[in-house]
């Protein structure tokens, strides 16, 4: 790792609520999140040096979205770095923003993402070059199929009961009823016993709900700049890593840190977590708040294991022993997680976790507030965990 010239601080952020109007264009969505984040941070548009923006519509075909985004946000001629890296891409946008500030090149950078994914037929968009290799998606084996396969394999390898998945979904829903930004906020609370059932309906309810179109934005500044705008900044750090893009290679990829694992572990996330903890100067024992990107309950447990909160295969015990609750020493998914906050794709899957940890550290989370929140970690992944991102926010001065 090279030399980090200065710490990066987060001073504001925003995410669009669920069910945004159907007639909003992607430009409106992007501008909504960008504007609200700047308002939250008290930063005028003219102060923004750079925007790093992820999107997920049709990355390869849309080869020049940068000027369009810059025009929509009113920052021309300043640059936008367009990023297309699946659902975790707004994590990569945050990494890009972090680098721009840590290097000293920029003072104020906005990291954002949007997903107005109904602009294109979903299948057409997913079949772009950015998703998958030529021998899975092309032959009809999608990331949905991978998810079902991975869950079945993980359950079998580590003897994970349905009950653990049911409890995972239950606690995500419990938090979501206390988070007005969650997709399930105003819906009836599900029954724990029903979530633990071995039925197709319960299986669906243990998986992510869709937020539809969504956009989010976060404002980062250099530590020396933060006092210009706020007296309550938090430190932000981020790292990411890849694993092979072909699912079969999860079982044998001849690289250290990969070859000893298979489909039931997340070595890319382990690598990203190691680097994120190092950059942030924390140990896993310091973490007292975690948000993970979980499209199924099982991969949520796998993420806890990869972060080092418990041993491999012991995510079930963490959940069943009350580890997700507010009484735990490290509560999990207080934003509502995939099952209840909802899947935001390129628009929010990484940033939703960062924003929750940021608001928790600022003590703004009401009934779901974690006592003495100091160090929050969040995860996000793209496609079938071929890229994993880890964010760390810590209480500032």
């Amino acid at each position: 790792m090279g030399k980090i010239l200065r710490r990066v601080m987060m001073i504001g952020g925003a995410i669009t609520p669920p069910n945004i109007p159907m007639d909003w264009t992607w430009r409106q969505m992007a501008a909504e999140a960008f504007w609200n984040a700047l308002q939250d941070a008290g930063v005028p548009v003219k102060d923004v040096d750079l925007v790093a923006c992820n999107y997920n519509d049709r990355a390869i075909a849309d080869s020049s979205p940068g000027p369009q985004i810059a025009d929509a946000l009113g920052i021309l001629p300043k640059p936008v770095i367009p990023i297309a890296n699946a659902c975790a891409g707004n994590g990569i946008a945050s990494y890009t923003a972090w680098n721009a500030i840590a290097s000293g090149r920029c003072d104020v950078v906005v990291s954002m993402g949007f997903a107005r994914s109904d602009n294109y037929d979903a299948m057409e968009a997913m079949n772009s070059q950015g998703n998958y290799v030529d021998f899975d998606y092309m032959l009809g084996l999608t990331h949905i199929n991978y998810g079902a396969m991975r869950d079945a394999y993980y359950r079998r390898k580590y003897n994970v009961p349905l009950e653990a998945a049911g409890h995972w979904a239950y606690w995500c829903n419990w938090y979501a009823r206390r988070n007005p930004l969650a997709a399930s906020y105003s819906k009836p609370m599900p029954v724990l016993e029903e979530l633990c059932a071995d039925t197709p309906e319960a299986e669906r309810d243990r998986q992510a709900t869709n937020r539809g179109g969504v956009a989010s934005a976060m404002v980062f500044v250099g530590e020396d700049v933060a006092r210009r705008y706020t007296d309550k900044p938090v430190f932000f750090d981020v790292a990411y890593a890849f694993r092979p893009p072909y699912v079969g290679n999860f079982f044998h990829y001849p690289v250290d840190g990969m070859r000893e694992y298979d489909m039931a572990e997340l070595p890319g996330l382990m690598a990203a977590a190691r680097e994120a903890y190092e950059v942030a100067g924390i140990k896993k024992e310091d973490i007292n708040l975690v948000q993970v990107h979980d499209l199924t309950a099982y991969e949520g447990m796998m993420a806890l294991e990869a972060l080092g909160l418990c041993e491999l295969g012991k995510g079930k015990d963490y959940v069943l022993s009350g580890g997700m609750t507010l009484e735990s020493k490290c509560p999990v998914n207080t934003y509502g997680g995939g099952p209840a906050f909802g899947h935001g794709s390129a628009g929010s899957d990484f940033q939703a976790g960062v924003l929750e940890n940021y608001w928790q550290i600022l003590g703004k989370c009401g009934e779901r507030q974690v006592k003495d929140a100091r160090v929050g970690v969040n995860t996000s992944y793209g496609t079938h965990h071929s890229l994993d991102v880890v964010g760390v926010v810590q209480k500032g001065w």
């Binding site: 092309m138 032959l139 199929n145 001849p254």
Partner: protein, 150 residues
């Protein structure tokens, strides 16, 4: 689909014929690559790519084993996203460990009852029609069937 339109007539994907052409050796006969420097074998093929193990750029074609064992199974009864497989629901999919150690995610075909497909079962490769490409031509590719004689 209906009697008047027996095949799916909405096109969902935009792959070009050229892309299908370039992948034919692997799709038809499971041709992967092997690094001549360190001996690591790969599927999908890494023709012209750099070896992640030894970082040489010296790949040669490698014929993957055509049989193996199931290590994971999942049922696809949703069919999302529809990619021309609607006629085949439910599909049974599996991770197969080939006899040379390479792993693939594949369809297990010609199944009367999905419960027949179990972890540990022996399977062998077959060549099957998969879907129509944009030009209307059929796309052929590998699939696997249970090797009941094994």
């Amino acid at each position: 689909m209906s009697e008047q339109f027996p095949e799916q007539f909405v096109r969902w994907d935009t792959f070009s014929s050229a892309l299908w052409y370039r992948t034919r050796a692997a799709r038809y006969r499971l041709e992967g690559t092997r690094c001549t420097a360190c001996g690591e074998k790969f599927f999908p093929p890494r023709t012209g790519l750099i070896c992640p193990s030894c970082h040489a750029r010296a790949m040669e074609p490698y014929p993957c084993a055509q049989s193996g064992e199931i290590v994971a199974v999942a049922l696809d009864d949703v069919g999302f996203p529809a990619v021309g497989y609607g006629d085949y629901m439910p599909r049974v999919q599996a991770i197969v460990r080939l006899d040379d150690g390479i792993h693939l995610m594949v369809d297990i075909m010609q199944i009367a009852d999905p419960a027949e497909v179990q972890v540990g079962a022996r399977v062998k490769m077959v060549l099957r029609k998969h879907k129509r490409e944009d030009t209307g031509a059929w796309v052929y590719g590998y699939g696997f069937i249970l090797d009941k004689g094994a």
